[in-house]
Symmetry: C2
Subunit: 321 residues, 2 copies
Amino acid sequence: MNKGALALLIHGGTQNWSPERWKSRFDDVCKDRRVWLLPDPTCDAAEVCYAAVWKPRSGELAAFPNLRVMFNLGAGVDALMADSTLPKVPLVRVAVGDLTARMTEYVVLHVLMHHRQEPYLRASQREKRWAPRFQWPASAISVGIMGMGTLGSDAADVLRRLGFRVSGWSRSPKQLEGISCFHGNAQLDTFLQRTDILVCLLPLTPETQQILNRGLLAKLNPNSPMGAPALINAGRGGLQNEADILECLDDGTLGAASLDVFAQEPLPPDSPFWTNPKVVLTPHNAADTDPDEISKYVARQIERFEAGGALENVVDPGRGY
Amino acid sequence: MNKGALALLIHGGTQNWSPERWKSRFDDVCKDRRVWLLPDPTCDAAEVCYAAVWKPRSGELAAFPNLRVMFNLGAGVDALMADSTLPKVPLVRVAVGDLTARMTEYVVLHVLMHHRQEPYLRASQREKRWAPRFQWPASAISVGIMGMGTLGSDAADVLRRLGFRVSGWSRSPKQLEGISCFHGNAQLDTFLQRTDILVCLLPLTPETQQILNRGLLAKLNPNSPMGAPALINAGRGGLQNEADILECLDDGTLGAASLDVFAQEPLPPDSPFWTNPKVVLTPHNAADTDPDEISKYVARQIERFEAGGALENVVDPGRGY
């Protein structure tokens, strides 16, 4: 076994993401490579060339003197990038088709829930009221997606197919068929003003910290056919100013919100989000990708890297994602 | 004004479908044609060549001796076909893109709600429980659509794009890219056995009356990754054996159901569907098409018919749809 070993540093996963499950998957796909699930007293730190991590503790990765590549087992690398002790080797983030497909499911589901007035219809059922309301067509609604990378572009494509008017906003210019593309700070207000349902899939960086604040939300289409615009955040909790969002829901600036992520997770029991009737809350499960897909993806990248090929989806430290 | 007049017979519409709203729309699109909204004592029955109807009363249409074409303002013509006094002139049913798009919205929304465990997640929110569950990917779920006409085919296409395995079952053979197509009684069981989420968009005919009964539902995939299969009916209430559906929900044959239609509408306050925690109930609003689109469609068909062209979407009395 001469191939560089892989260390797994996995903390705080759900049942589906248990460290043991990851270990078993990586053993399957790294056939003649040693895989250590840490902590493991038998692990020889000098042999470790690769690390696959989920919420590693600050400083943990500095223990491996011969580390060559780090793999983050999710799409968001904000916590890692904030760690000043992070080794200066390439960091790869996960971009597998399965993760994209699951995020698109989530975005399409929640856009349709707000578009089709699901909160109202569920309340009607609870109250035993047969009371259909006027329903506008998808063609009357503009969905605006912030973050038009792999995830945003795929969701945009399905929403367009469903008949919505779709806009995208990103840091750098994009061109996508049937989507109105905006970019940069100069075009942000134009993008917001036309938007009835705002979907946030941005990476969390110093620039996007608390970008979902009153100033931004107040610029959404004030004449929405929906009555008031809706917000869907499946990016990161750090993108939210949560006090502002609650205020905007309260004063009608926002008509509804679907939130998958929060500043503090699990969301504390006393958070007002739990009981706000305008909030559709999910426990950070928008795109809970299967370890099967991700372990195969990491193993493929290591093989290619060792054969002299280039790594994919390497994080740009300057950009932060 | 020599063109044949149009009579509107509209009963029991929702706010969006008020008779006055229809009258105003038809006045806009039938520029030099007389439009009577019945009852109207000034209406000359002999001048009426066309009738556009929504839930007309039995015998009402027999009052027009020179009737040439009847237009039904929705997709379902079951009530009309059951009327033995119906004049023997062509009956056209509505097939506009707007109706198709709205039905696809409904089907995709409700498939995703069951796939993504929305009833569980809403209960978790009410109970302030941050408790993500294992989430299977769309590629693990077979959606089976009964009724593969314009509506079923369009919904199938979007579901396929979302990554679901999609099958269709129809009376006559179909071929659709990426969809496993079954037809006729001989292939019904094979279709059902693979199905995790059953979507019913069938027309109501003597053959499909109460087709959604225990015998059929018990054939759905017993080893579904979802635990138990789900039913979505956005066709007609008459397709349902409602006692059987309640029993199947109760004994676990079905895990969940989205029902938009019922044998009796509005659903009576004492119906057990209102409070069944496995039921997602909507007030027959799956595809509440805009009168704008339908009135334009009817006016276009009349113009073409008078110019010697063929009518589209004429109901086949033998088939019943």
